[in-house]
Amino acid sequence: MSWWHRTDWLTRAGLLCLAVLVLGTVVATVFGIGGDPEAMVGPRLAPPGGDYPLGTDQLGRSMLPRLFEGIGTTLLLSTVAVLVTAVIATLLGIAAGYWGGWLGEVVMRLVEVLYSFPTIVLAILVAAVVGPGQTATVCSIILITIPLMTRLVRAAAIIVAQRDYVTSAVISGAGWPRILFRHVLPNISGTIAVQGTYALSVGILVEGGLSFLGFGVQPPQSSLGALIQQGSTYLIAAPWLVIVPGIVLVVAILAINVFGDGLRDSLEPREARSLV
């Protein structure tokens, strides 16, 4: 883990933050901390404190377990979508960058088409076709994150394809699967990792936005976006319903972005120059 030594405290803080979020959610879900997220146990719209650390919603459900469920749903949907994107974008990017030719042309055209839609607009189109819900969320994230990742994997693959070790492998008669898996893939894995990290934050953002508009995760299931959407009706009377999941959402995205920045800087450090 040589890159770890090159990262600064902010990058490590980002990773730590993310780990706490994931582990906390897993532990809370496994041990049922805060009780049943679906149970209507308390008074409606109770402020945080006492039996309900984060208050209750309009149906008297405790917000703490609902928040844990929401974090879990959001992270799970985003991660699944980004993993699919990573596989597809790597295949497409290598095809376009390493082989190029008409195949590359076709791939980049398709990517360009997807890239032509503003993210939330593309998500709305997906939701209109497949109907609101988790499927629409995952499909939207995949379609939204594919273009950028494919482009960058392609750019990285083009550079790697020109390297001497690839040329010498080709000359020594290595088959293309060997070249791809032994030489190309390891050398673009950094790009994939960095872009995957950024894609994860985009995924969380898309889940939030789509659910906020009411086309993502549907009640009674909770996700960070869905919690904010449901809470926004009672924004003035019970602001904690929106502010708490909002802060968690911001922290999650920020932690991932900061970690991604640090990862990028440690994999491709840049010079600095002052003008005096």
Binding site: S116, L125, S232, V250
Partner: protein, 324 residues
């Protein structure tokens, strides 16, 4: 001449992309629940109306003919009838376009007027160690706060406490420009935060890349002042990647406007599309998505052309040599 032929190729490529986008939206409109007649007419249409639409769009003919009829109808500006209002979709859009345009233009202006100077400043004053990390955290925060979270907090604060501006109560620009601006300040500000941060980050990256170029070292070695170097050498060279990112920013603004209009209850195209999906008013959805894509592709082509005009190396092939 070389630049001209490059622009021509770029324009042709945009037309091809537009064509493929239209195929995608066409396919999506056929896949929407209820079939295409319902997309155009809504679920409560009479059999006669359905038959009429079926004939007009050639629904009984093969898919290529159907696409051709759909495309030619759309090219004449006819996107069907809104199921909810019974008015042509084009008319409905015309009423709402000014709101969305005002928001987008305000966001764009903020990105350029605030994001670019901020990016240049942070790059030239690139601190190290702790200061650099704080700068990263601040710019990271800007791109990490989704507009629906920031917007909700703003709505809460301005509704709960008397802070001088009220939320909601949109007044058209033509009716009372002063009131219109007052009602648009908060939505535009919330929409701008993200684009300002993105523009600042892109500008900062671009400037940092330019700052390590040998011609900057040469200018420093000639004893030029930082101000001189930034204004004479850095800005123009860094503007090339910044200009190309402006189209991405537009795409974001168009998407962000959807959420902002919905959140602040503004009668724009974005909130209209959101309502349309909820009411299964698919003619509106299809037209709205197409509109957003067309605007984006056109702007993307224009910014590429602008980047080409800014860089004398463009289209000569020597750019590839310089960029590592």
């Amino acid at each position: 001449m070389r630049l001209f032929s490059w622009w021509l190729r770029r324009a042709l490529s945009a037309v091809v992309t537009l064509f493929l986008v239209s195929i995608l939206i066409f396919a999506a409109s056929r896949l929407m629940p209820g079939g295409f007649a319902e997309v155009v007419l809504g679920p409560f249409a009479s059999p006669e109306q359905k038959a009429e639409v079926s004939a007009r769009y050639g629904l009984d003919q093969n898919i290529l003919v159907q696409y051709w009829l759909w495309l030619t109808t759309a090219l004449t500006g006819d996107f069907g009838i809104s199921m909810i209002s019974g008015e042509p979709v084009t008319t409905e859009f015309g009423l709402r376009l000014p709101v969305t345009a005002e928001l987008t233009v305000a966001g764009f202006a903020a990105a350029i007027c605030l994001g670019v100077p901020l990016g240049v400043y942070t790059a030239v004053r690139a601190g190290r160690g702790r200061t650099a990390a704080v700068g990263r955290l601040a710019s990271g925060l800007g791109v990490s706060v989704p507009e629906f979270v920031l917007g909700s907090i703003v709505v809460f604060l301005f509704s709960r406490f008397a802070l001088g501006l009220t939320v909601g109560g949109y007044v058209p620009l033509s009716e009372d420009p002063g009131q219109n601006l007052r009602s648009m300040v908060l939505p535009a500000a919330v929409l701008s935060v993200f684009v300002i941060a993105v523009t600042a980050r892109t500008t900062r990256d671009a400037v940092l890349t330019v700052l390590v170029e040998p011609y900057i070292t040469a200018a420093i070695a000639r004893g030029e002042s930082p101000w001189f170097i930034v204004t004479r050498h850095v800005l123009r060279n860094a503007s090339i990647p910044v200009v190309t990112v402006l189209s991405t920013i537009t795409a974001y603004l168009l998407g962000g406007a959807v959420i902002i209009e919905y959140l602040f209850n503004l009668p724009g195209v974005g909130s209209y599309i959101v309502q349309a999906v909820g009411r299964r008013d698919y003619a509106v959805v299809q037209a709205g998505v197409l509109l957003a894509a067309v605007v984006f592709i056109v702007l993307n082509t224009l910014t590429d052309a602008a980047a080409g005009a800014l860089d004398p190396r463009f289209g000569t092939g020597s750019k590839a040599r310089r960029s590592r």
